[in-house]
């Protein structure tokens, strides 16, 4: 058997990835430009015994997937900018209670209801800091359908591995662009399942007993272990506590389990970086414009390269520093006012050499837009 080839939108590629990863429960609320994800799942999930529910709002959708995850299901919700804002409270809950779940935001222009049908990459910081309090988060993105599929599968794997919400940020162009998707055969991509406790019935199960290897085995609601889950700081029984030592250790655990594994979590792609004097850094659909330009200029002898980020959080600092260490210029290409650029500046040795090429007017950034600014940066004039 060979893999199936489909011609789909990015939003559908996300649906295919989620189903491939074993999605069993989806709750959502309609919002442009993410709605096709809900529409396709409403049709697909019941066919394979999964559950779809359109909740009364974004908040409820996020809460419902957390509830379903606790029964042992792989779960997802999908939204866009303002809807993502509404989910933040429960997203923080999932971080605190260590609930595996996947949250998609197909980005649109903001703030507020902003530009519903236009492209933006404005949710980068919301993904990181939308919920309150110190915490770690995993956030991934993609620039084409094949990667949307792979990244979605990976998001489920990471959610289960680290017992955490994983955020997928796609932009409107990626979500709506139609292109080829080659579906791998079932089994071809490794999947991470729920790690369930081996503690037997009648023996005390501690839902939050820290373990050396970083994975906390779970027990499904409805099973033999009855325990408490709360968004309050909690002890190893899941019972609320304000004991300073327990509080400090829990927060450290929540942050360390992600930060200490950044090297395994962070994914990226590189194009012509070996001898690049000018390194472009981009992600999502703007990385395609950047790549187009890199290929075009390479043919003319320009030493341009591209680092395409696929993981935005934890921010791949080490990778960025290393890949930019020999560059004369580092140019971040994104469709916001410099959310990733700020991180790049923190990561590199010479922040003064970091420039921003961006648009934030709802219009897709083209290779020409990038070229025009690049000439200025490289001191070639327009």
């Amino acid at each position: 058997m060979s893999s199936t080839v489909k011609f789909v939108q990015g939003n559908e590629a996300c649906v295919e990835g989620a189903l491939y990863a074993g999605l069993e429960f989806f709750a959502g609320y309609p919002i442009t430009p993410s709605t096709e994800i809900a529409e396709h799942l409403a049709a697909r999930l019941p066919r394979q015994g999964g559950k779809f529910i359109q909740m009364e709002d974004e908040i409820a959708s996020m809460c419902a997937i957390i509830g379903a995850s606790l029964t042992g299901c792989k779960v997802m919700t999908a939204t866009s900018g303002p809807g993502f804002s509404l989910k933040q409270e429960a997203l923080g809950y999932a971080v605190m209670a260590e609930i595996p779940c996947v949250v998609v935001s197909v980005m649109r222009g903001g703030p507020s209801t902003g530009l519903p049908t236009h492209v933006s990459q404005g949710d980068v910081n919301q993904a990181r800091w939308g919920t309150h309090g110190d915490h770690a988060i995993i956030c991934m993105t993609a620039s084409n359908n094949q990667d949307v599929f792979a990244t979605t599968v990976e998001a489920f794997n990471l959610a289960e591995t680290y017992r955490t919400p994983v955020i997928l940020l796609f932009d409107e162009v990626v979500g709506h662009m139609r292109e080829k998707l080659e579906m791998p055969e079932p089994g071809a991509v490794p999947l991470v399942g729920r790690l369930r406790t081996s503690v037997k019935d009648g023996v005390n199960y501690h839902p939050y007993l820290p373990r050396e290897d970083g994975r906390l085995p779970m027990s499904d609601f409805g099973g033999v272990h009855r325990y408490n889950v709360t968004g309050l700081f909690h002890d190893m029984w899941g019972f609320p506590t304000d004991n300073p030592t327990v509080v400090r250790e829990l927060l450290r655990h929540l942050v360390d389990k992600i930060d200490n594994n950044a090297a395994q979590i962070c994914k990226y792609k590189e194009f012509h970086l070996e001898d690049a004097e000018c390194v472009l850094i981009s992600y999502g659909s703007s990385a395609r414009s950047a790549l187009h330009l890199v290929e075009e200029r390479r043919a003319l002898g320009d030493k341009l390269g591209l680092l395409e980020l696929q993981t935005l959080w934890p921010f791949p600092e080490a990778v960025v520093r290393e890949k930019c260490s020999r560059a004369k210029h580092v140019v971040v290409v994104e469709m916001n006012m410099g959310q990733v650029m700020a991180q790049v500046k923190l990561a590199v040795d010479k922040p003064g050499r970091v420039y921003l090429v961006n648009r934030y007017d709802g219009v897709f950034i083209t290779p020409n837009d990038i070229m025009n600014i690049l000439r200025l940066i490289q001191g070639k004039g327009v």
């Binding site: 709750a27 409820a60 957390i66 509830g67």
Partner: protein, 270 residues
Amino acid sequence: MSIKKYIRSRFFPHIWCPGCGHGTVLNGLLRALDGLGINKNSVVMVSGIGCSSRISGYVDFHTLHTLHGRALAFATGVKLSRPELKLIVPMGDGDALAIGGNHFIHAARRNIDITAIVMNNRVYGMTGGQYSPLSGEGTLSTTAPLGNIDQMFDVAALAQAAGASFVARTTSYHVKELSKVLMKAISHKGFSVVEVLSQCPTYFGRKNKQGDAVSMMEGYKSGTTPIGSKAKQENPDLIERGIFVERQSPEYCEEYAKIMDKAQKKKAKA
């Protein structure tokens, strides 16, 4: 009969004030579950935030202490993914009907098989005595020092209008009735709402000069009457107790199971 087996004594003492009605409601609830002989592993209790919501930590079921107002949304996820489980959601009046009002009416509209217990003490206790949507006009609270001008509404009537297929009201004074009503609510297939008038002597009682817990409970005795009683005709101010609605109507998870069936038959044909 011992209800101790349902308690996580490790987590006692509880946080409730002396004389709080919530302990009585918990007692009534555990008696109801015991009376029904329900297996502990099949009960999931989901609560929001507030004094009443702490119930979930103290009982030996699968328990989920969630976010203010959101308990029913979490519970909907648990129930739809595992319809064989019994979902019980204890909530305060502010939790259920202010911040959680939207989730409340939509859970009722879906008629999903969850038992919602609204412990109505007419005040936000945990944050120190602010007025709730059910405090009522003229009451005093820390955020209505000159008298509350917010109108209240009737939870039971709201639940019925939104589609709940079982709606009842009782009080923390009527303990036997409380257990009986809860038994019926828990056995009912569909969204069931039980409003329980439950005293908060610490904040509502003191501020509104209603005396101690005992006199507040006496107020429940003298201020309520069974549904349709003669006393109500003579004194319309009396609050009615009992079961307002108990009807069969399509339950959400069962209806979704039919959708799955349909989808799979369609797939088999194709």
